[in-house]
């Protein structure tokens, strides 16, 4: 049953050394081209652009969702029962939305012409009339728009997990620090965060892996456009393999991406091992 996964991976490696293309799908004919596909990738400017965009986007997503998520967790500890319940429900709504559905909602929120976000921004009277602003036609704006979408859905998991850990922090330590005259921010950064370190580390590693692999949201908002400038490695792989049907090349990009991710995966497994999991 591991074969269901391992065999395809081996097949992927194999494919990346061939010139498998659209015709091959029908005829089954392909030839072995060695490391040609890899050589082509590494001189392709689009590959380097995708790699850079993927890294920048991943960092922005991880930092954004972690900072907001951890802040919301701290906020939850300072709320009464009713308010905490309201915030939790808001979080769960965002968390539970399938990302295919939320991408559709995002397209409508940011729709040029009648989208409510453009209307709200115009009402601010700061940026002028933005009614017809098209977010998905501008690389930076498109990335900002997708960033908000992914962060919106990532924050609930981070906030609730961190909050669960934060309720385990012994109040006696906080009281003690308060008695010693520590200021509230000082207590938070020196005492509380110290307790949360293992949780935050785990969430960070998971977020890096997840955010690196974000696909649906980008695909459904921009399809990698305009001019493939928002194509992350995942999107670029898909476009190469299934839109241009250069399957061998797509496989090679996929292998490179996998190797990059495995570096993080090794890190994740190590941190799991350290937290006491017995394999």
């Amino acid at each position: 049953m591991i074969a269901l996964i391992v065999a395809p991976i081996i097949f992927l490696l194999f494919t990346s050394f061939t010139n498998y293309n659209q015709r091959t799908l029908f005829t089954g004919v392909y030839s072995f081209v060695g490391v040609d596909q890899y050589a082509k990738i590494f001189v392709d400017p689009q590959f380097w652009w995708s790699l850079i965009i993927t890294v920048i986007f991943t960092v922005a997503l991880v930092v954004g969702s972690l900072v907001i998520g951890i802040a919301v967790s701290e906020l939850l500890t300072r709320l009464g029962k009713v308010m905490r319940y309201i915030v939790t429900v808001a979080l769960i709504f965002a968390w539970g939305m399938p990302n295919v559905a939320s991408s559709q909602v995002w397209n409508w929120l940011f729709q040029p012409g009648y989208g409510v976000i453009n209307w709200l921004l115009t009402q601010l009277h700061v940026f002028g009339d933005l009614t017809n602003l098209s977010w998905s036609n501008n690389t930076v704006l498109a990335l900002v728009c997708i960033w908000m979408l992914v962060v919106w859905q990532a924050v609930p998991f981070i906030a609730l997990t961190t909050y669960a850990a934060q309720t385990q922090v012994d109040q006696a330590y906080i009281e003690a620090a308060r008695l010693d005259g520590a200021s509230e921010p000082r207590i938070y950064f020196s005492v509380v965060l110290n307790f949360l370190k293992p949780t935050i580390l785990l969430i960070t590693v998971l977020s890096i892996i997840w955010d690196f692999n974000v696909f649906n949201q980008i695909w459904l908002v921009t399809q990698g456009g305009p001019n493939n400038t928002t194509a992350t490695l995942g999107i670029w792989t898909y476009l190469t393999a299934f839109t241009n049907f250069k399957i061998g090349a797509g496989a090679a990009i996929s292998v490179v991406t996998t190797v990059l991710l495995l570096i993080f995966t090794g890190f994740y497994i190590r941190s799991l091992l350290r937290s006491g999991e017995d394999l």
């Binding site: 905490r84 709504f93 539970g96 399938p98 949360l196 696909f215 949201q217 496989a251 991406t257 394999l279």
Partner: protein, 300 residues
Amino acid sequence: MTTSTVPTTSTRPTASATATRVPKRRRRRHRVGANIIAIAFSVIWIFPVYWMINTAFKPRSGVMTPTPQFIPFNPTLNNFIEAITQTTFLTNLRNSVIVVLGAVIIALALSLFASAALSRFRFRGRKTIMVLILAVQMLPGTALLIPQFLIFNDIGLIGSYFGLILAYVAAVLPFSIWVMRGFFIAIPVEVEEAAMMDGANTWQVLWRVLFPLIVPGVISTSIFAFISAWNEYILAYTFMKDQSMYTLPIWLVSFSTPTGGTDYGGQMAASVLFALPVVIFFLIIQRHLVTGMSAGAVKG
């Protein structure tokens, strides 16, 4: 996740009476500030969901207005009725149900036996398999998509329920095994030994003693597999090229009115129809979400 770091601050026995008197007023002021932030945060976070529902209930003339209507005047169910009756919704819903059920059942059966084996028997290569399971969880989606597409294309599984089911099983299996194994490990070996002493054979121990004890594990695994398969888009989009074989996510994305053009009222109604079961599900199981899924992957 265990948080057992020893703190560096000194633990002084606290006289709570004196400790709480001083900052009480300050804390009350904090409470007010915190509440304001909490309300603002909730409004922002719930807004996209609200806007989806709001738009779904608007009559066609109310969707695209120069000034957005924040409350639907004369709400209507037309968008829902049209989404259900004038599209392939029912066919696609049936496809989704078949594929999701198939994937959940097969993934459950396989992960039960695999995790029982991995947690109860010590054999050569067990550790390698565990590391592999963890590593595979992190693969980019396209790493499996490409070879699966090629293999299924060769053996004629593209466009069939069974092909998509197999792809989903492959996607959720590693995590399912991982979670289920955790539940197996939590059961003390003594329970099995006692059953053995009473004359039960290995099969009986597995079926009569262990399985009833891991029902919570079975439930978490099914929930995870269900949500992943229900929400999955790109595999289905790549494999199912015939509209009569679409699952609901593809139906939702390709949603358009019979008259053509994007009908946002209809699209939002379709989003509600598709997302509602999952969101309600999340609300019901919210207490188990954090503990059950903290090691895993319930995220886009």
